[in-house]
């Protein structure tokens, strides 16, 4: 096991409801039933299994073993719909539930485990919750909850947990490989691979895991490598959280609709408090909120607001007011034509409900908080994309090295300027104004200046023609030649840059690409 591999195995909880396709149809476990697709048995009820019906059997064989078998068609849409109500039960443990197939859910346990007293306690809580919900139909024993490093191992643990008295199986951290060692290679799910492994005499995961990773990669390629990582208890991928469920969403219908922002804000106060309570009950706080405003005439304005800490009810009310202020004073055509009829608050991002989060650009400073509020306010007036902050990126051109990123979406950790050298970069100072304006650079004879393959000028530049006006060039520096993305013929850019000092006291940066000169920046 290498250190890097250990890092990506995210401690994960998987809850399974076996026989889900049968459960979703509303049958009880003591009814012999099977879901068949394309003449093959896909899922069976415990009663049918007791009669000898197995996955993969043909319909004829299954019905011979169990004459009163109820044959059902698969209904994936119904399975997902019914499962969604089960997932809702788990929402109180985490907002980050990953659903990959009906009957199976996963989430990283980190926060939830701490909150609920450890992996074992959390697993038991989830198992109790699910089996209580399914118990009314007699399906309590279909539940299994596993916790382990990585989704794959957790899934195996969940399967192992089915039928146990407490319906849980927790694999200690770092114990994945030992837990998996005795399982048959067929659990890897890759038919072609497991056939070969069996023929090689590797019947369990322990034997497979003992192989050298390089040998496996050499013999089985990428798929083999992934299977091998799984067998060693290292997951190839962490679970993907779905967006937070809509359980925390709150809405308010205004009757009669309200025209004025302060009337709306007044009405929203109670809603914001309800919103915060709903989250606080689950020890959550909202750091980014989506506010939806609907008018009686059917217009809608939705905006996402981010905060440098948990959003308090008063702050939510402020944002509703700012959003509405910004909207009602927008130009005709964008402005709403009726009063606000419905307000919906949707949490967009959660943080733990303890204290305040990391400060704005590091450290909550009063002035920073004030500035952030003012900018948030201005953002409501001019639109979210119109307020930006600088961010360092790599690149050669003056417009590439530092870019503007939307203020609302900023990562609060300022990115350090890249220290890597970019060959062909023009030395500082950079022009303070950037543009892309076609110009002409002419020599003393009035011919366009050409830059040759090795960066030599055809003749000294003498005049710059910009917007029809000709200005003499008094001095110049360069060219700085660069060949960007030479490995990608379609994106390849070959340019040469020149700094020019003009007779009108301006200094400018121009570049030529394919004999076309472009004014790129002015040192105004």
């Amino acid at each position: 096991m290498n250190a890097a591999g250990d890092l990506d195995a995210v401690r994960t909880l998987v809850a399974r409801c076996i026989d889900w396709p049968i459960i979703a149809t509303g049958r009880r476990p003591d009814e012999p039933a099977a879901v068949l697709r394309a003449d093959r048995v896909l899922a069976t009820s415990p009663a049918a299994r007791a009669e000898g019906v197995q996955r993969g059997q043909r319909r004829r064989d299954a019905q011979r073993r169990c004459p009163d078998l109820v044959v059902l068609d698969p209904d994936p849409e119904r399975e997902s719909r019914v499962f969604a109500s089960i997932v809702a039960l788990v929402d109180r443990f985490t907002p980050r539930v990953e659903l990959s197939a009906p009957g199976r859910l996963a989430f990283p346990v980190r926060g939830a485990s701490r909150l609920f007293g450890g992996d074992d306690a959390l697993a038991r809580l989830v198992a109790d919750e699910l089996s209580a919900a399914l118990g009314s139909e007699g399906w309590a024993d279909a539940v299994g909850v596993g916790v382990a490093d990585g989704v794959f191992t957790a899934e195996r643990a969940a399967s192992a947990a089915v039928g146990r008295p407490d319906r849980t199986c927790v694999v200690v951290s770092g114990g994945s490989a030992a837990f998996l060692a005795s399982l048959p290679v067929s659990v890897l799910g890759d038919r072609a691979l497991t056939d070969v492994l069996r023929r090689l005499g590797l019947v369990d995961l322990g034997a497979f895991a003992a192989l050298d990773p390089d040998d496996v990669m050499g013999r089985f390629g990428e798929e083999g490598r992934i299977a091998h990582r799984r067998a060693r208890g290292l997951d190839p991928r962490p679970p993907q959280p779905v967006s937070p469920p809509d359980t925390y969403e709150v809405e308010l219908v205004l009757d009669p609709p309200a025209e004025r922002a302060d009337a709306v804000a007044f009405a929203v106060r109670g809603l914001a408090e309800r919103f915060e309570r709903g989250l606080a009950d689950d020890s959550l706080a909202c750091t980014r909120i989506s506010i939806v405003l609907d008018t009686e005439t059917g217009e809608r304005l939705e905006r996402v607001w981010r905060n440098d800490g948990a959003l308090r009810p008063a702050e939510i009310v402020d944002r509703v007011r700012w959003q509405l202020d910004g909207w009602t004073s927008a130009p005709v055509g964008v402005r709403p034509t009726g009063g606000v009829e419905r307000v919906v608050l949707i949490p967009d991002e959660f943080g733990p409900a303890v204290g305040r989060q990391e400060g704005f650009w590091g450290g909550v400073v009063d002035a920073d908080a004030r500035a952030a509020r003012a900018l948030t306010r201005v953002q409501a007036m001019v639109g979210p994309g119109a307020v930006t902050v600088p961010e360092h990126r790599g690149g050669r051109g003056p417009a590439e090295r530092v870019v503007r990123v939307p203020f609302s979406g900023v990562d609060r950790v300022p990115r350090a300027p890249d220290a890597a050298p970019w060959p062909g970069r023009v030395p500082p100072p950079a022009p303070v104004l950037v543009m892309a304006e076609p110009v002409e650079v002419l020599d003393a004879q009035g011919a366009s200046v050409v830059v040759g393959g090795r960066g030599e000028l055809s003749s000294p530049p003498a005049r710059l023609i910009r917007a029809g006006r000709s200005v003499a060039i008094e001095a110049w520096a360069g060219p700085w030649v660069f060949d960007e993305r030479w490995w990608a013929p379609l994106e390849r850019r070959r340019r040469a840059r020149l700094q020019l000092v003009l007779a009108d006291h301006r200094a400018v940066l121009v570049h030529v690409e394919g004999r076309r000169w472009v004014l790129e920046g002015i040192h105004d």
Partner: protein, 231 residues
């Protein structure tokens, strides 16, 4: 019993007796109380110090609440240098100036962690945006090409004086700052010469320029100063 007339006076030095009588001019009382609770900015805080090459231009600092206009070729660099000199540890927000290069802004010395750009469209309420900014941002750089009505500028000026930020109005690329923007301090950049490039050799290093400064009130006399800036 009580002489309510005294309530209308600003009572900075002596505390106003809080009237308890029944015949009280409520408005006068409110005014007096407002005067007493109004936050006073210490004298040292009322002026933002300016060091470095720009110090001789502005006599070592700019009073909070003033508006500075800058025009001429090189105006953008002077404006950025002034903003950087005014705002160490403070916030600086640029309104308009769509073609302003973020790289150039950072090279001028403005703190990237306390800097933001606001783009405003023609229909947007420029004055309102600026008014919302000056309450919290110490240095607001404004594009002189944005149109505001003189009445709005006057109101804005009052708000800036009350809140205490500095507004720097700049016209990029050699244009003139319109008459609707009136500055407490007006700078015009004249003849700049560049140092560095020759005939294909070297690169831009620094420039020196002449800046004419005229002001109102305390800074009324006009002067011409030489300014040397990198870039």
């Amino acid at each position: 019993m009580f002489d309510t007339g005294v309530m209308a006076l600003p009572l900075r030095s002596q505390p106003a007796p809080v009237p308890s009588g029944d015949v009280v001019d409520r408005r006068a009382l409110a005014r007096a109380l407002a005067d007493r609770i109004r936050p006073t900015i210490p004298a040292a805080e009322r002026r933002l110090e300016v060091g470095g090459p720009l110090a001789p231009l502005v006599d070592g600092g700019v009073d909070r609440g003033s508006t500075v206009t800058i025009e001429g070729i090189g105006a953008t660099s002077v404006a950025l240098a002034l903003a950087a000199a005014l705002s160490p540890g403070r916030w600086c927000v640029v309104v308009g100036l769509r073609e302003l290069a973020p790289l150039g802004v950072l090279e001028s010395g403005i703190d990237p962690g306390r800097c933001a750009f606001v783009e405003v469209g023609d229909g947007d309420r420029v004055a309102e945006v600026i008014a919302a900014l000056v309450v919290a941002i110490d240095v607001v750089v404004v594009d002189a090409r944005l149109t505001v009505r003189p009445a709005e500028v006057r109101r804005l000026g009052a708000r800036v004086r009350e809140r205490g930020g500095v507004v720097v109005v700049v016209h990029p690329d050699g244009g003139h700052v319109g008459a609707s923007w009136s500055g407490d301090l007006a700078m015009t950049v004249r003849a700049g010469t560049w140092d560095g490039p020759g005939r294909g050799d070297g690169h831009l290093r620094s420039r020196s320029m002449m800046v004419d400064v005229t002001g109102r009130g305390r800074a009324a006399r006009s002067r011409r100063r030489e300014l040397s800036l990198p870039g």
